[in-house]
């Protein structure tokens, strides 16, 4: 009974979460395959193979929104090959394909998984609900079991696997046309890999104040994060968003400036090594998880912090 991992292409390579999931999958089962949705298949086959996939089923999007076609092709493939489980990440294509596949095949989905295990033939997926305060273990009876996992739930480690054998899979044309693709470059270190993350929230008061965050991050060699509210307000691009609907980070040190600590945000950063919070509301929930909490105005504290760091 194989375990399959869905992998969508992000900047020409398999998504980081798919490599985390392949690493997990190969610890559960000797029969692991990847389903790759993208164009750079040769490079992908090497990386996916190293992370545990013996086979990669290749779906090629052609200038169209691929989810409907991909889900249809995947349903036929799964019906022929009967995998025990198909694991997805939380990227937009992952969610689109998983949702459509689930509806098309009538299989249930466990979302936001942070752990997956096989107990004999029983597939159990665990997720955290209510903002990460309650853990739920769910036995997945459906075959294939569809599990959508949170980024960074597992650690990606390449093994000694050879390049995966590529099996092209035909898919129907997608529905909806992709007219343009834009990359919004973020400056500085990669948010998901940085050892220090400095994040700003609405407590900063305005887009022009966000440069304080950039400065502190720059001085500490860290990456810049933001809350959903800040991204929705257009202060910084979505690529900086941390939380349920953004990135998950686990740096050694996380500085939350002007962030109240809504559940939405906390699930994306609560596993950081040390959390330092600055907020003028003494009742802000962020203080409940902070190792150091400064009750004060970020616009007073940060300039002084910058001055002190610059003086070193």
């Amino acid at each position: 009974m194989a375990i399959w991992v869905f992998s969508s292409e992000v900047e020409g390579a398999p998504s980081p979460t798919s490599l985390e999931l392949l690493t997990k999958a190969r610890s559960l089962d000797t029969d692991v395959a990847a389903v790759y949705l993208g164009t750079s298949i040769e490079e992908a086959a090497t990386v996916l193979g190293a992370h545990g996939a013996a086979t990669v089923y290749h779906l090629s999007p052609a200038g169209a929104l691929p989810a409907a076609g991909a889900a249809g092709a995947l349903a036929e493939l799964a019906s022929a090959e009967s995998p025990r489980a198909i694991l997805f990440g939380m990227g937009p294509d992952d969610r689109d394909v998983a949702g459509r596949f689930s509806a098309r095949t009538g299989t249930a989905v466990v979302a936001n998984a942070i752990d997956i295990r096989l107990d004999g033939d029983t597939l159990i997926a665990s997720n955290e609900i209510l903002g990460g305060t309650v853990r739920v273990d769910t036995e997945v009876a459906d075959r294939p079991g569809i599990v959508i996992a949170r980024p960074k739930a597992f650690t990606a480690e390449p093994g000694d696997g050879a390049a995966a054998t590529v099996t092209p899979v035909a898919m129907e044309d997608g529905r909806g046309t992709v007219l343009e693709s834009h990359v919004e470059q973020s400056e500085g270190p990669d948010l998901t890999k940085a050892d220090v993350v400095v994040s700003g929230g609405r407590g900063l008061g305005g887009a022009d104040k966000f440069e304080l965050i950039d400065k502190v991050a720059g001085l500490l060699g860290g990456a810049v994060g933001a809350t959903r509210a800040v991204v929705d307000s257009g202060w910084v691009p979505y690529s900086h968003q941390i939380g349920q609907t953004g990135k998950t980070v686990k740096p050694s040190v996380y500085i939350a400036a002007g962030i109240s600590g809504a559940m939405q945000h906390v699930v994306g950063m609560k596993d950081s090594g040390t959390i330092i919070a600055i907020n003028k509301d003494p009742e802000a929930p962020i203080f409940g998880i902070a190792d150091l909490g400064i009750v004060g105005d970020v616009n007073t504290v940060l300039p002084k912090l910058i001055e002190a760091l610059e003086a070193r």
């Binding site: 936001n112 955290e128 330092i276």
Partner: protein, 256 residues
């Protein structure tokens, strides 16, 4: 244009949620509020309807309670609501929810379905895609901007590295992020009118859906346990020297 908007009533996120110790379902109070993420979809629907002389119908599955959340959505300007509530739906997973909503939307007729990207309380994040598949229409997902011209619906679809511009023709489904528009506040007139607007209450059986609840879930909860929470550390009032405590901790952690 007939626009269907998925809307959910949830317990007020400002209050701590409780789980029923036996069923593990979230305890749903009589008074629930409109999920904040739905306000964006409603606003998009209202703007499209205003431009194209359309109608906006809300579709909601879940314990109806006092209908406070539904009235909040109607007060923004939606024309009517269809609420699917029956005891058998308790414990339903995402797929059953999608089947129920898709059946209700299909029964009513639609040109466009609009939903948020995920609910605040459950955040499974796949119900809209499931609905699109069940209705057999294209899905323009994760819209951070939208336009409707010449019969074509176009969005900026948020991706992991930026955005794509994608387009399709109705009938279709669209999911919207909370950056897409600034939702309007209900006016006093809107709040008064909302009380008179039609709210149709139906059951899953009336939609021809027999298997609901945990029977249809394809999965079973085997354990529920509290996650050990982080302990709060030192909390100090900034007296002008708060920054020094941060510097000290950064030194201790060898960041500087």
């Amino acid at each position: 244009m007939r626009i269907a908007v998925c809307a959910k009533q949830i317990p007020d996120p400002a209050t701590p949620y409780e789980l029923d110790p036996e069923t593990h379902f979230v305890v749903r109070p009589e008074e629930q509020v409109l999920d904040d993420t739905d306000r964006y979809g409603i606003e998009v629907a209202l703007q499209l309807a205003e431009a194209a002389e359309g109608t906006v119908t809300l579709f909601s599955m879940g314990p109806a309670g006092s209908m406070q959340g539904i009235r909040q959505a109607l007060a923004m300007g939606a024309d009517k609501a269809v609420v699917i509530d029956d005891e058998g739906l308790r414990g339903s997973g995402a797929l059953t929810t999608a089947r129920v909503l898709a059946a209700a939307i299909e029964k009513e007729g639609f040109d466009l379905v609009i939903a948020g990207t995920e609910s605040t309380d459950g955040y499974t994040g796949i119900v809209p895609q499931q609905i699109a598949e069940l209705l057999d229409v294209p899905a323009l997902t994760f819209a951070r901007a939208f336009s409707h011209d010449d019969g074509k619906l176009r969005i900026e679809r948020q991706t992991e590295v930026g955005y794509d511009v994608v387009e399709t023709e109705p009938p279709a489904l669209m999911t919207v992020t909370s950056g897409v528009v600034e939702p309007r506040y209900p006016t006093f007139k809107g709040i008064m009118q909302a009380k008179q607007k039609p709210v149709e209450q139906i059951t899953a059986a009336e939609l021809g859906i027999e298997e609901t609840g945990s029977v249809a879930a394809g999965q079973a909860i085997t354990a529920v346990s509290p996650v050990p929470s982080r302990e709060a550390g030192l909390k100090i009032e900034d007296d002008g020297e708060g920054f020094a405590e941060i510097v000290k901790m950064l030194e201790e952690r060898k960041v500087i």
